[in-house]
Symmetry: C2
Subunit: 127 residues, 2 copies
């Protein structure tokens, strides 16, 4: 397992778009990003070029434009950021993090039920 690169804030935003939309052009990504605050086209372009150099995304020429695809998986990245948050802010206590997430975000009864099932499953596999 290679030591994975840690995306910056903006890089993560771009990855989000690519994960949800699938492969996309710079133009498409930029449009999607600009929902909150406007951001220059060349800014997004530059970011995506850097991400390409870093191997975070791949790209494929289509006519005169490039189609970019995420090269790191959403789940892996989530896990990595989770680990990071755990280390830096929760002193490694996954339980504390889970409890705070549950308490703070108020999941629905159905969601709680699903989590309960998941816990059952985890316990089942450990006795």
């Amino acid at each position: 397992m290679t030591t994975q690169y840690k995306p910056t804030e903006k890089e993560l935003e771009i990855l989000q778009v690519l994960w949800t939309q699938g492969p996309a052009t710079v133009r498409a990504v930029n449009d999607r990003l600009g929902k909150g605050r406007e951001i220059g086209y060349t800014t997004t372009l530059k970011l995506m070029q850097i991400m390409f150099d870093k191997g975070l995304v791949s790209r494929q020429k289509e006519g005169k434009t490039h189609i970019y695809s995420a090269e790191i998986s959403e789940e892996k990245t989530q896990n990595q950021l989770l680990d990071r948050l755990l280390d830096t802010a929760f002193k490694g206590s996954a339980m504390k993090l889970v409890m705070q997430a549950l308490g703070h975000k108020k999941p629905s009864k159905e969601e709680l039920e699903e989590i309960r099932k998941y816990i059952d499953q985890l316990e089942g596999g450990m006795k």
Copy 2:
């Protein structure tokens, strides 16, 4: 609820020390930080001065030194970072985050039990 300031990486490390040790001098914090890699005293000093300017910590003169205390609570900060992670990486799905944390970090049976109890409690309060 005030829009809370987002601590940087190093600031968070310093807050960690203050949260676990309680109020401390720059020297003490720096010693504690230097467990992994050495870091210059004046570096830590500068960071803590900046944090003071930002209101992240308070300080009190004791002889010729300053005693610094965390001014933002550990729990609030954790929650804020959690929210942030949720938004930026988990698209707001607290459940997904919880499930990944549980699956990935392999809590003990006792911890799972505790979480289960907590879920019971949450469900109890919502019917």
